[in-house]
């Protein structure tokens, strides 16, 4: 196996080992931190598909993160108040079932990604960045001004949602749920990277003309990637809301988009485990430095600068060197 392969295994095992140890040592806060890492990593894995593999610099992925969050919030709040979401033309009731919430989050964020992508992928470069940002901000202001679900104050959910056979209020069990979903997403991306679709998407990033010339529409390939990417980030939003038992418009904010992008860049753009490494580093730094000084973001800024200037491959690149090629 390549060096990067070993590093990836070490990473994913550490992410499992830390909360397991915390469980034994009775350190529930560490479990929560690890859960945040897993969920943020999932958001980053989603963005990395668009950004890393597809070269689509989306500054609006908070839109999907927020939609996942509100999918959870809306379904769960209706379930806890026993008021159906819709009665006419058909009865739609709230739910506290995680699988149903996840499917809803995936579906809705996929549809929104389809709409946003269909418009924004007609542009490239700076315009693409600005349009995705604008869509994110639109949803942000919409969530603030929509009073039905808490508006500016956000929406608390009193108990965590249910997963058949598990006690989701037990931190380690909720961690394991998030961890398994992250692993599934990573397996999916690792397969996708080597697949026909991965080859086309990867080539479209390098030369649009090359891909068009062989009869493949780069627009459609990118749109597909954008939708899959939005769905994964949407799912992570639903998990994040469940972790906090709280949804608020800040999930839609451009700072959130920026943070997801920071996970990817810190960890290593286009590297399979980049978002995992990046999210872990981010959370560790936030925890360590955030405790010492309120200005920890300055340190983060410096670190980011260093990565962009000297270590394009991010943390993974630093540890594993240049990516190995297959084929």
């Amino acid at each position: 196996m390549s060096r990067e392969g070993w590093i990836n295994i070490a990473l994913i095992l550490s992410l499992l080992a830390v909360p397991l140890w915390a469980q034994v040592a009775d350190e529930p806060f560490l479990i929560t931190l690890s859960t945040r890492v897993a969920i943020f990593a999932l958001a980053g894995v989603g963005l990395n598909l668009a950004l890393g593999l597809g070269g689509l610099v989306s500054l609006g992925h908070a839109a999907f993160f927020g939609i996942g969050g509100y999918a959870m919030g809306i379904l769960a709040s209706h379930a806890q108040s026993y008021a159906p979401i819709l009665e006419v033309p058909l009865l739609i009731e709230g739910t506290k079932s995680m699988p149903v919430i996840w499917l809803t989050a995936l579906l809705v964020s996929g549809l929104v990604a389809l709409a946003i992508g269909a418009l924004s992928l007609r542009t490239t470069g700076v315009y693409f960045i600005m349009i995705t940002l604008a869509f994110g901000q639109m949803l942000y202001y919409f969530s603030i001004s929509w009073p039905a679900y808490g508006g500016e104050d956000g929406l608390p959910i009193y108990t965590r949602n249910n997963f058949p056979g598990l006690n989701t209020l037990d931190p380690i069990q909720f961690f394991l749920i998030s961890y398994v979903i992250l692993c599934i997403a990573l397996v999916f991306i690792s397969l996708l990277t080597k697949s026909s679709f991965g080859l086309a998407l990867n080539a479209a990033r390098q030369s649009v003309r090359r891909v068009e010339t062989v009869g493949i529409s780069t627009y459609r390939v990118r749109l597909t990637a954008f939708v899959l990417s939005g769905m994964m980030t949407g799912l992570s939003g639903a998990l994040f809301a469940d972790l906090n038992r709280f949804v608020s418009p800040s999930m839609f904010s451009w700072q959130t988009s920026g943070e997801i992008m920071i996970f990817v860049i810190l960890g290593g753009t286009a590297r399979l485990f980049g978002p995992v490494a990046g999210a872990a580093l981010f959370i560790v730094l936030e925890h360590l430095l955030g405790g010492i000084s309120d200005y920890w973001l300055i340190f983060l800024g410096l670190l980011l600068l260093a990565v962009v200037l000297f270590a394009r491959g991010g943390l993974i690149g630093l540890l594993a060197g240049s990516p190995s090629r297959s084929g």
Binding site: F188, L191, L192, K194, S195, S196, F197, G198, L199, A200, N202, A203, Q206, S207, R209, R210, V211, E212, T213, V214, G215, I216, S217, T218, V221, T224, R325, S326, G327
Partner: protein
């Protein structure tokens, strides 16, 4: 004048245009004050190599771009296999069987040579929307790709990164990708450039055979190759086709003699 006599597009020849596999009809393209295509009408017959020659900046590549669908003409129509393809985009024309190689190569430079060629096979197959199966494990795609690399003489370099190839090898790689499309016509923009004499001799032999698989519209500055290969030659100057004819008819034109046969250069 001889050049005028060679302007063959009288009404009765229009019928022939309709029968040919690829044709442009009155194509015009303006870049600001510059007329890059001035009412260009030409066609490509089954089994032939039609060479397009002319000085730098004459508008040869611009014409190819319009035929391939990368640039929209201001005026005029483009027909391919009996369809009016003027409104189709590049990918749609490629799916109809129009393959091209670029003057400035367009390749996925971070990918291996093999991956670049496999991409062609993927395009030819139709939909690249398979997410789980490793593409390199597809023996059909691999075999087509390896056969195409073999034909252009790049088989040894299959695992090399495309960005590490020389200019000439990149051209050959573009030809290999074009081959995997099993196209109905080729557009080639200076495939010999950067090849060196043995390389271009090789490619000349290869293209000479290839025309029987699918006809080639060939832009080339290497006059030895053009005269050896072309069934017909069109001469483009300032965006205008000033002559179309056989090698023997075209090589005696004063403009061509001046440009290519040692008289003073064409550039203005």
């Amino acid at each position: 004048m001889r050049a005028a006599a060679l302007l063959v597009y009288s009404p009765e020849v229009r019928q022939e245009v309709a029968d040919s596999i690829l044709a442009t009809e009155g194509v015009c393209k303006r870049f600001g004050a510059l007329l890059a295509s001035d009412n260009v009408t030409l066609d490509l017959h089954e089994g032939e190599i039609h060479a397009l020659i002319g000085p730098n900046g004459a508008g040869k590549s611009t014409l190819i771009e319009q035929i391939a669908g990368a640039i929209k003409p201001d005026k005029g129509k483009i027909y391919f296999r009996g369809h009016n393809v003027t409104k189709l985009n590049t990918a749609e024309r490629a799916r109809l069987g129009l393959a091209r190689t670029f003057q400035i190569s367009a390749l996925a430079l971070e990918d291996s040579v093999l991956q670049n060629v496999i991409l062609g096979g993927l395009g030819a197959q139709g939909r690249p929307y398979r997410f789980f199966k490793p593409v390199l494990a597809s023996s059909a795609l691999r075999e087509t790709a390896e056969a195409a690399l073999e034909r252009v003489g790049l088989a040894q370099l299959a695992r090399t990164r495309a960005g590490e190839l020389s200019h000439g090898q990149k051209r050959q790689l573009e030809v290999a990708v074009a081959l995997t499309l099993k196209p109905k016509a080729f557009l080639m923009d200076e495939p010999m450039a950067g090849l060196g004499s043995s390389g271009s001799a090789r490619l000349t032999t290869f293209l000479s055979e290839l025309r029987h698989e699918a006809p080639i519209l060939l832009i080339e500055h290497d006059m030895d190759a053009v005269f050896a290969l072309a069934d017909r030659i069109s001469v483009l100057v300032y965006g205008k086709v000033i002559a179309t004819g056989s090698v023997d008819e075209v090589r005696i034109l004063p403009e061509v003699r001046r440009a290519y046969l040692g008289d003073d250069a064409w550039d203005c």
